[in-house]
Symmetry: C2
Subunit: 303 residues, 2 copies
C-alpha cells in the first residue's frame, strides 16, 4: 500500500473536521461568542502543520478491528487537540522556552504568554467537550463505552500519564539521569497519548479483548519508538525539514536515548521496538496494514 | 437553619473526598507513580483554604431536587478541581501575577512557574478522569446522563465559558471597557462554573425540566452576585480576612462593577440578584433551604 497517500488522505479528513469545530472566523468577530484572539491562537496552533499522527493512529486502529463510519472522528480530533495543547504549554518560557516549532513562531511568541496558557487550557477542555458530545457522530456507541474510553484518555493525559512525564522531563534537565528515568519520561510524556490513541480507536471500533491486548503491545512499542526517533532527529535531522534547530536537546541538557545509549544503539532499539509492534499484530489481516506501515514510517520519517 | 454549620459539614465531606483522590504521600515518594513535586503542588493548592462553594452548591442542588447518597461527590470534587486549576493559572506571572492567595504564597511562587502550569493542567485533566470514572459512585446514574453533564461542565469551563471570560478579563486590563464587557467577563469567568455546579447537581439528582429551569435562574443570579461581591470585597474588604491585598483590581486596572457603577449601586445589584435567585426557587420546599441561605451568604461573606 501507498502509506504516504493513506496518511495524506487521513490528514485531510482530520483537518477538515478540526476546521468544522474551529471554523475560520476572520473578519466576522461579531459572530463569535468567545474572544477572537483566543480563537485565532487556537487555530494558529491547530493548523501549524501537524502530521496528525495520533488521530490517524486512532482511525487506523478503529478500522483494523472492523470499525466503520466516522464515529471515531470526534475522538480522533480530541486526541490532536490534547496533543496541540501539550505542545503550546511545552513551548512556554517557563518550560522548554521554544521560539519555533515546525518552522513557525510558537503560540506564545505570536499571541503572548497569557493567551498561550489560556489557548492550551481551552484546547484541553474543548477536547473533553467534543468527546462527550453525544449528538456528534457517537450515537451508535454505547454511552458507557464512551465514558470508559474518555476516562482512559484522561488517565493517559493526566498526572499519571503525559503531564507526569512532562514534569519529570523538566525536572531532569541538566541533571545526570539514569536509563529508567529516561524511559519513564518517554513512555509517559509521548508514549501514553500514542498508546491511548491506538486503544481508543480499537475500543470504539468494537475490538475484542485479544485484539485490544495485541494493539496495546503495538501502541506501547510505537509510542516509545516514536520518541526515540524524535530524539535521534534532534541530533542528526535536517533543521529545514524539522522547522526548528537541531541539537536543542543537548543544549538544554535533556536526557535522551542518544545521550545515554549513543546514536547507533538508539536506532537499533527503535527498529527493534517497531519489529515487536508489528509482530504483535501479525494475526490481523490486511485491514491492519496501515498500522504496520505507520510503525515503519515512524522510525524512517525526516520530521 | 444554621448555614455556617451546613457549610462546615459539607466542606468536610468535600475535603475528605479530595483527600482520598489525592492522598498525602509525604515521606513515601517511592509509592507514587507520578512525580512527587506535582502531587505536592496539587495538594498545596487544593487544600489552601478554599470555601468549596462550587461543590457545596452542586450537593445542595442535588438534594434540593431529591437526590440521595454520595453519587454527586466525584462531580462535586471535579468542580473544585477545575476551579483550583483556574486559580493556579490565573495567578501566574503572565496573567494576574499574584504572589498571595488566601494568605498563602501562590502555587508558582512555591513550586515555580513550570510546576504551576503543569499542576493546573493535571487538575483539569484529572477532573475529567474523575467524572468519567464509572466505578466511583456514579453507577446508578444513566451513562448517557453522565456524558451530558460532563459535556455541560466542559462547555462551562472552556472557550465559551470560563476560559473565554478569563481571556477578555486579561485583555481588558487597563482599558476603558463598557458595562456589557464587564458583564460578559463576570458571567463567563466566574458565573459559568457556578451555574454549571448548580445545574450538574440538579441533573444528577434527577430534577425535572421545571426544576432545572428554576435552578438555572438561581445559578445565573448567584453566579453574577458572587463576582460582584468579590469585586466589592476587593475594594472594602479586610486584607487579613481575604488573605490578600485589597485594592488590587484598581491597581491592575481591572474592569469591575464598583469601578463602573460605584460601591453602593454594586451592592444594590448584588442584593437584587440574590433576591431574584431566591425567588426563582420559591416553589421548592425546605429541601432547598440551603440553596436560599447560600445565596444570602454569598453577598454577606467577608472573604
Amino acid at each position: 500500500m501507498d502509506i504516504k497517500k493513506y496518511l495524506g488522505e487521513k490528514k485531510e479528513i482530520v483537518d477538515s473536521a478540526l476546521g468544522k469545530y474551529f471554523p475560520n472566523r476572520s473578519g466576522s468577530a461579531a459572530e463569535g461568542v468567545f474572544p477572537t484572539s483566543l480563537h485565532t491562537a487556537i487555530r494558529y496552533s491547530l493548523f501549524a502543520g501537524g502530521k496528525r499522527v495520533r488521530p490517524i493512529l486512532s482511525m487506523a486502529a478503529f478500522e483494523a478491528v472492523g470499525g466503520e463510519g466516522d464515529e471515531i472522528l470526534p475522538f480522533a480530533c480530541a486526541l490532536e487537540m490534547i496533543h496541540t495543547y501539550s505542545l503550546i504549554h511545552d513551548d512556554l518560557p517557563a518550560l522548554d522556552n521554544d521560539d519555533y516549532r515546525r518552522g513557525q513562531l510558537t503560540c506564545h511568541k505570536v499571541f503572548g504568554e497569557a493567551i498561550g496558557i489560556l489557548a492550551g487550557d481551552a484546547l484541553l477542555t474543548e477536547a473533553f467537550r467534543l468527546m462527550t458530545n453525544r449528538s456528534m457522530g457517537g450515537l451508535s456507541l454505547r454511552d458507557g463505552q464512551m465514558l470508559d474510553v474518555i476516562h482512559e484518555v484522561a488517565q493517559a493525559a493526566g498526572m499519571q500519564g503525559m503531564v507526569g512525564g512532562q514534569v519529570l522531563d523538566i525536572e531532569s534537565e541538566g541533571k545526570e539521569v539514569d536509563f529508567p528515568t529516561v524511559e519513564y519520561i518517554h513512555t509517559h510524556k509521548t508514549g501514553a497519548l500514542i498508546l491511548v490513541s491506538v486503544r481508543a480507536g480499537a475500543r470504539l471500533g468494537g475490538g475484542d479483548e485479544a485484539a485490544l491486548r495485541a494493539l496495546t503491545r503495538y501502541g506501547e512499542g510505537i509510542g516509545l519508538a516514536f520518541q526515540i526517533a524524535d530524539d535521534i532527529l534532534n541530533v542528526e535531522g535536517k533543521s529545514v525539514l524539522l522547522g526548528k534547530k537541531t541539537g536543542s536537546d543537548l543544549s538544554k541538557g535533556k536526557a535522551t536515548y542518544p545521550s545515554l545509549l549513543g546514536l547507533e544503539e538508539s536506532k537499533r532499539r527503535a527498529r527493534e521496538l517497531v519489529e515487536l509492534a508489528v509482530d504483535a499484530i501479525r494475526s490481523f489481516g490486511s485491514e491492519a496494514q496501515p498500522l504496520r506501515e505507520i510503525a515503519w514510517f515512524i522510525v524512517s520519517r525526516e520530521n
